[in-house]
Symmetry: C2
Subunit: 456 residues, 2 copies
């Protein structure tokens, strides 16, 4: 069926992908057609199942195919759209052509070559002892470099002894919750709206959640006075998620005062602070009072969430409790820790972040320009940093109806309500652009604007 | 101070290591001397701190240097031993020249080149969508290949849908405990003696532990009748840890009957079942009743614990509970999952295991031979499989005193008491040989035999 002879210079996988795209585009494999099982096709082509699976995966990501559990992989591209777009957009969820949900960085920008080289070097050359059980807190060399990076880039004051590796911010928060519970802290103040997944994780550890409202100045620290049972607060001061605001200076001071008064702790999720477009990154609460703040970081928004590398900086008084309260702690593989250390030490990590910042700033500019043209007078906020912005909807327009209309146009978008603890009358979309291809900004915003009009 | 000019063909790190070894051996850097901080030496040599840190790490592993927290790295090799041994032995804990504690596989046998190639291929070529958030249960391609591997190698019956990736057996058991707790199962029967670390993990989740004794036939299943509160049991049927015995056929049947009668579950830790020297590997309980048994595996004893790749096969009724009861689940990085899948699919993993099995069998033979010669009439058991054996001590000899005497001779060894829930009169050493260099078997056993005589 498939002619794979064209461009024999490319790998078999590449040729298979091209052939499948061609056959789907010219309609010879029509909408809904079932593709052969990968095992079967691999046999026919006399190649590894890998080749076939990778080709299928790529075409699912590109929107040509769809996979359903327990059923054959089928053609989902009807041939009525310009295929140029389809090829440049990579969606988080196969099914949406444009993924405007926040959460992903630009996966096309992952420095594959640098990472591959660093991993290879350590895989081949690491002293044999490094292949044994990793040190529970993380590799000491990486922890030292992270302490230096945090000091340099985020103004923190934490020594390597108080840096602990994790596999993500959520993993770190989960572990810290167990440490809090071990010391009798059972209630967590959480930003409303805030990152729902992180809240679920807090709740899953058995902690009780108290909603603390946020506004244009970030967390409403004054509300904490009405909740004497709260001794821990989870917050995103540099770039509130999802509002995108910065915690006001007077609230920063008030929050730290609160922590000292109630003998409490602040969990600072510094998830995308490196991407600030209007000025230098905002400093951390941790740098203001290292004895009261636990800082959480990861490479998920900086390199890729597939790496599973995170870390936290704890007050010395909490480092040991953290170590003892969670068994066993999951860690990134030693080799990956060493590879990340190499990127940190050589400066490659910070160079990468600078390149990303520039790219995201340009994309944000394009996105804001398109939205302002398509929706004259629209209100955009939280766009001075990070990988998402907040688009207020005209009064009377229901955000959920917009999200549904957008979905029908193959655009995935979130709204403030998705991140709420308590329901609210406030209606706004949360528009992520981290993993949106630059070439897709125009069409994605056009589709989104149409969806808003449809739902109005 | 250091002359690094010799053999300029080698890397700077290699030359630094050689120069340090030379200077320590010829006494120019004497016992107890402090080495310069890595930052300082790197400056002097105009190289990356990496080079110095790696050289120090290697020499610590080789026993030339020792590192103490908060203090300088110092020379610990006194120059009175044959350096040939020192260079071939890699210790788990810097400090012991011979590590006979069980737990590590042969780290020198890690297939560095194959792993590096597989990781590089996927890092450079994985579809960009694979760099996003990994699928919570693990990559579907890997899960499919693991289901096939388990069927082929361990006689299990689990579909890919019921395979869940973890970062280790302990991580998997922790997560499963939370699933059990979510369904009201709060007490775990644990083998006594058994792997202490795994028990700590069970306890840390909040489950209560009931000790179930073991004997030469494995777990004393009959004892469960006296504990109606127990509905979950954690066991090592293929190679009881630490006794090294196989669970008798009639006890296997009785254990499964027990699980059905109490509507309970069996957690089967299949940690080193692939290394069986006398016959084909013993089958799994999971294969006998997939609805009652959760099987736990990892590559820690097969490739390296530094990779952090584990998985479990759950009864379909438990798969969803497992998914929901632990947020967030830590996963191996996607690239590593794909790399492992490549090793499984190409057959490289099983070829590696066959090579390892041969190497371990030979080493076990040498170890048994040496022990029998040095300690005539000594009783060795549990040696037909795995990476450790049990050496009964002459009556009246205290195992702890032997372990201390061995430590003084730079031999790390464990004893049954280390793994006990309840104290017992039984005295035996647990002698691991997974990561013992073949060239070190003779001296390690000689030192151990002397330690036993000293403690008698």
């Amino acid at each position: 069926l498939l002619d794979l002879s064209a461009s024999a210079d490319a790998s078999l996988c590449e040729r298979l992908k091209r052939a499948l795209r061609r056959e789907i585009r010219n309609g010879r494999i029509g909408l809904g057609s079932a593709l052969p099982p990968s095992r079967k096709l691999a046999q026919d082509l006399d190649c590894s199942r890998w080749v076939v699976n990778e080709a299928y995966s790529q075409l699912i990501a590109e929107g040509y195919l769809e996979a359903r559990m327990g059923s054959a992989t089928r053609v989902r591209w009807a041939g009525d759209e310009a295929p140029a777009h389809v090829e440049t957009v990579v969606t988080q969820q196969p099914g949406a052509r444009f993924d405007l949900a926040p959460g992903l960085p630009d996966l096309r920008g992952f420095p594959r070559r640098q990472w591959a080289d660093a991993v290879r070097t350590h895989t081949l050359r690491a002293p044999v002892g490094q292949l044994g059980y990793p040190e529970a807190q993380g590799h000491p060399v990486l922890r030292q470099l992270l302490a230096e990076y945090l000091r340099r880039a985020r103004g923190t004051a934490a020594s390597a002894a108080d840096i602990t590796l994790s596999t993500s911010v959520t993993d770190g928060v989960r572990r810290m919750c167990q440490a809090l519970l071990a010391r009798g802290i059972t209630v967590m103040g959480c930003e409303d709206p805030g990152w729902s997944r992180l809240r679920e994780v807090v709740r899953a550890t058995g902690m009780r959640i108290v909603a603390v409202p946020t506004d244009a100045g970030g967390l409403r620290v004054d509300v904490l006075a009405g909740h004497p049972e709260v001794r821990a607060v989870l917050t995103t001061p540099a770039h509130q998620f999802p509002r995108g605001t910065v915690l006001l200076a007077e609230r920063r001071a008030a929050l730290l005062r609160w922590a000292r008064n109630v003998d409490g702790v602040i969990l600072e999720d510094d998830y995308d602070a490196e991407f600030r477009y209007d000025r230098r990154p905002v400093g951390t609460l941790q740098g203001m009072d290292p004895s009261r703040v636990i800082l959480f970081k990861s490479v998920s928004k900086m390199l890729s969430p597939a790496l599973g590398i995170g870390w936290m900086a704890t007050p010395p008084a909490w480092t040991q409790t953290l170590k003892e309260s969670d068994l066993p702690a999951a860690l990134p593989p030693t080799i990956d820790q060493l590879a990340f250390a190499t990127l940190l030490e050589s400066g490659a990590y910070e160079r990468h972040l600078r390149r990303c910042r520039q790219r995201y700033r340009n994309r944000r500019d394009a996105l804001v320009r398109h939205l302002s043209t398509l929706l004259p007078g629209c209100e955009i906020s939280g766009a001075a940093a990070g990988l998402h912005l907040v688009l207020a909807l005209p009064s009377g327009v229901d955000a959920e109806a917009v999200a549904r209309a957008a979905e029908a146009r193959s655009v995935r978008v979130a709204h403030l309500g998705d991140y709420r603890i308590r329901a609210s009358e406030e209606h706004a979309l949360v528009v992520g652009y981290g993993n949106l291809a630059d070439t897709a900004v125009a069409e994605a915003t056009a589709q989104l604007a149409t969806a808003i009009r449809e739902a109005s």
